[in-house]
């Protein structure tokens, strides 16, 4: 029982992070049909920003400000920093490629990924950096459930992710920006003719998606303690899988997809094999695509001629 609950907690926690990253993927893909492989590395940059915020305020063992305030500042700076990084990426690397063959932006994304990972390596060194979360947030206090402690960080990760998903949903469905985003996603040229500022809409989409990845980066640092410059690639891959399983373009889908992938990963790690967990997640992806190519929440695509 204990193991079962622990597995669910692990799955929900990782799943929430995958979901946050997946939201960025799904928005960018939905609007530009662009597979932004560098998105995972934006998440990595967010984790590093959070790390430096901790050290600005005295380091993990001698914080000069209260912990909730620290976390808020980390979220704010990481989301702003990553958001701007996303906007810059779009402006300078992806915008020239809007009408290029589909393979071109993919190569650009790989190039950005190379540059980001190795820039961090050059500037900050290769060693694993530790948030040392346990020295300012207790790892053993929180909700006790069937012999398992769900600690404050785990609760925060899940709550913040769900809150951000609802916030994003509100933006997309209730604001003018959301309307323009949906218009650009369904037909870019028509949207442009209707007077929507397409470039601005796309830039803001990148900003929001990247900001969420930044928050995910900070939370991953808090939850898992260790960050390196290579954490982005695999997380990005899992997150894209989540976006596909949930249904590309669907916000709820990305969230549910993230949780499904997280839980699947946790259960296969705990109950089947630590060696083949990635393969099992892959199997889920294949089955999803073969049975329901549009994902859990996606609508079937109509092919236009």
């Amino acid at each position: 029982m204990q193991e079962f609950i622990q597995t669910i907690v692990n799955g929900l926690q990782t799943g929430s992070l995958y979901a946050l990253i997946a939201l960025g993927y799904t928005m960018v893909y939905g609007i530009l049909k662009l597979l932004n492989f560098a998105h995972g590395d934006v998440y990595m940059v967010g984790a590093y920003i959070g790390y430096f915020v901790i050290h600005w305020f005295g380091g993990p063992t001698a914080l000069s400000i209260p912990v909730p305030l620290l976390i808020l500042i980390m979220f704010a700076l990481a989301s702003t920093g990553c958001g701007l990084l996303g906007v810059a990426m779009e402006r300078f690397a992806y915008r020239p490629l809007r009408d290029a063959p589909r393979i071109a932006p993919l190569i650009t994304a790989l190039g950005i990924s190379f540059v980001l990972e190795n820039t961090v390596l050059l500037l900050f060194g290769g060693f694993t950096r530790s948030y040392q979360t346990e020295s300012f947030i207790s790892a053993t206090s929180g909700i006790h459930l069937g012999g398992v402690t769900i600690n404050i960080v785990e609760i925060m990760v899940i709550v913040v992710s769900v809150a951000m998903m609802f916030g994003l949903r509100q933006i997309v469905h209730r604001t003018t920006l959301g309307k323009s985003m949906r218009a650009v996603a369904s037909d870019r040229e028509a949207a442009e003719m209707l007077g929507i500022n397409v470039n601005r809409t796309i830039a803001l989409t990148f900003f929001i998606g990247s900001a969420m990845a930044g928050v995910a980066g900070v939370m991953s640092g808090l939850a898992f303690d260790q960050i390196t410059n290579t954490i982005g690639f695999l997380a990005g891959l899992k997150a894209f899988t989540a976006a596909v399983v949930g249904g590309i373009g669907s916000i709820a889908g990305a969230m549910i997809g993230g949780i499904v992938i997280g839980l699947a990963e946790a259960f296969s790690l705990s109950y089947i094999s630590t060696k083949y967990a990635d393969l099992i997640v892959f199997g889920i992806l294949i089955v999803t695509m073969l049975v329901r190519p549009q994902g859990i929440f996606g609508r079937p695509l109509l092919q236009k001629v």
Binding site: F92, A93, I103, I107, G111, F114, T241, L279
Partner: protein, 475 residues
């Protein structure tokens, strides 16, 4: 944007009239009249002559590697360039070929000692290629239900899956993380290839034959059907082109070429290890294909040469310096017109450097106490030019960030302002290179590979030898 539309024939009339100037025109005309047979023969001849000039083992290895990457790019081109299927699992076929050869032509696995299978190449290579073809069909069948980037992500996992399988499944046969070593050389009919030069010639022959076969394939009905499929699958199927069969064929053919390259690679290396087939290698293969020009046979081969030789140069600090400064110079010469401006900018760049160095030295001798990171002639040439303080790490990091920002700013500026901004930017680039980038040449190499990919895509998305193709977003 004032114009609503334009007729293609009218728009191209200017180009038809000019067609380049003088010798370029002649060259272009000669090129267009040359058939593909003579062209291939010329490449072969060049390759044979090059073989005579490769005096040491290192050059021979580089030459072999560039042909190997050319072959890999040719194989990748079938699915990606012709059929338009984004295959990110191609590395698995390369690995399959290598592992297949290793299992069929080695004393096998780990410490078991004697025994094992020792098929001659003439038998083992066809077997391996056949297996790869079948696996390609299987993956192609899965791919049928997917399109575009969905296919990309699934095939990417196929690559990952290959790594996990060879790492974990049956270490007795596949060697697990320790790989398989002590493979046989390629041997058949009583003779065997052992020297690096021998492998180079073998790779040359294979590449040329492969290019010939692929050219015939490209111009055949199948090739045309593939391109129709790539440009518009729906229209292709409406025209009764067997879309599904063609997709599976593209995967399978690509897999076979990849496996062929794999067998050659395994034989040349004498060993196979799971980590030889990571995503990094896949990215290099993609870089070859894309830099050369997606969809073009000559482009794939050129891409293999450019990427391998470029990577080789980047990994030697001295050559990397030449490449770095050379690239800056080439970009300046190509982009700044007229010559007056170019001369002004170059003078400015040189003058600024020596002035800044003298000024910094006058203010504080510690500011110029460090030696430039480059050795050799570059190092002595820029000694009194760049500012490198005694402990340049933090300084170099800040310069690096300033450099990126300066590049961002330059892209946004136009006219005289841009010209003015170029001068300090080039100087910052030189200082940053000497103070920081050359100190960790390996990391710099990776950053430059990434940057080159980004810039090439932005400047020329069709690659060096590809043809421009406008593609609207998939519906």
């Amino acid at each position: 944007m004032a114009q609503i539309g334009v007729d293609d024939w009218v728009a191209q009339s200017g180009g038809r009239r000019d067609g380049g100037s003088g010798w370029r025109k002649l060259l272009a005309r000669a090129d267009s009249r040359l058939g593909w047979w003579p062209r291939l023969a010329l490449v072969t001849l060049a390759g044979l002559i090059a073989g005579q000039l490769l005096t040491n083992v290192n050059l021979q290895t580089v030459a072999f590697n560039s042909l190997l990457y050319a072959m890999l790019a040719l194989g990748l081109n079938i699915a990606v360039g012709w059929a338009g299927l984004l295959d990110l699992g191609y590395i698995a076929f390369f690995g399959l070929g290598a592992y297949g050869f290793a299992v069929l032509s080695s004393t096998a696995t780990g410490a078991s000692g004697s025994g094992g299978t020792h098929l001659p190449a003439i038998e083992s290579i066809p077997i391996v290629i056949l297996i790869a073809g079948v696996v390609g069909v299987v993956i192609g069948l899965i791919a049928l239900r997917l399109s575009g980037d969905y296919l990309a992500i699934v095939t990417l996992f196929v690559g990952q899956a290959f790594m996990e399988v060879v790492n974990n499944v049956d270490p007795g046969t596949l060697g697990g993380v320790n790989g398989i070593f002590g493979l046989d050389s390629l041997h058949s009919f009583g003779s065997q290839v052992t020297s690096p030069l021998g492998y180079y010639y073998l790779a040359l022959v294979m590449t040329v034959v492969l290019a010939g076969i692929l050219h015939l394939l490209d111009t055949s009905r199948t090739g045309r059907a593939w391109r129709a499929l790539r440009d518009d699958p729906l229209a292709a199927s409406a025209m009764t082109i067997p879309v599904n069969k063609l997709k599976v064929m593209a995967f399978s053919f690509g897999a076979m070429v990849g496996a062929l390259a794999g067998t050659l690679f395994a034989a040349e290396q004498n060993t196979v290890f799971p980590t030889n087939f990571t995503a990094n290698i896949l990215i290099l293969i993609y870089a070859c294909l894309v830099l050369g020009g997606v969809g073009s046979i000559a482009g794939a081969i050129a891409g293999g040469l450019v990427v391998t030789i470029g990577e080789q140069m980047l990994s030697s600090p001295n050559d990397a310096g030449y490449l770095f400064y050379g690239l800056i110079l080439i970009v300046l010469v190509m982009r700044i017109r007229p010559w007056r401006n170019l001369a002004a900018v170059l003078t400015g760049v040189i003058g600024l450097g020596f002035a800044a160095h003298a000024l910094a030295g006058a203010i504080s001798s510690a500011a110029v106490a460090g030696a430039p990171g480059s050795g050799g002639s570059i190092g002595s040439a820029v000694r009194d030019y760049v500012i490198v303080p005694a402990n340049p790490a933090t300084y170099g990091n800040i310069l690096y960030v300033v450099l990126i920002c300066a590049l961002v700013v330059i892209v946004r500026l136009h006219g005289t302002r841009r010209l003015l901004a170029v001068v300090p930017t080039v100087y910052i680039a030189a200082c940053c290179w000497e103070a920081r980038l050359i100190v960790n040449p390996s990391i710099t190499t990776q950053i430059m590979i990434g940057a080159i990919l980004i810039v090439t895509m932005a400047a020329r998305p069709q690659g060096l030898l590809g043809t421009h193709r406008v593609e609207t977003a998939e519906q």
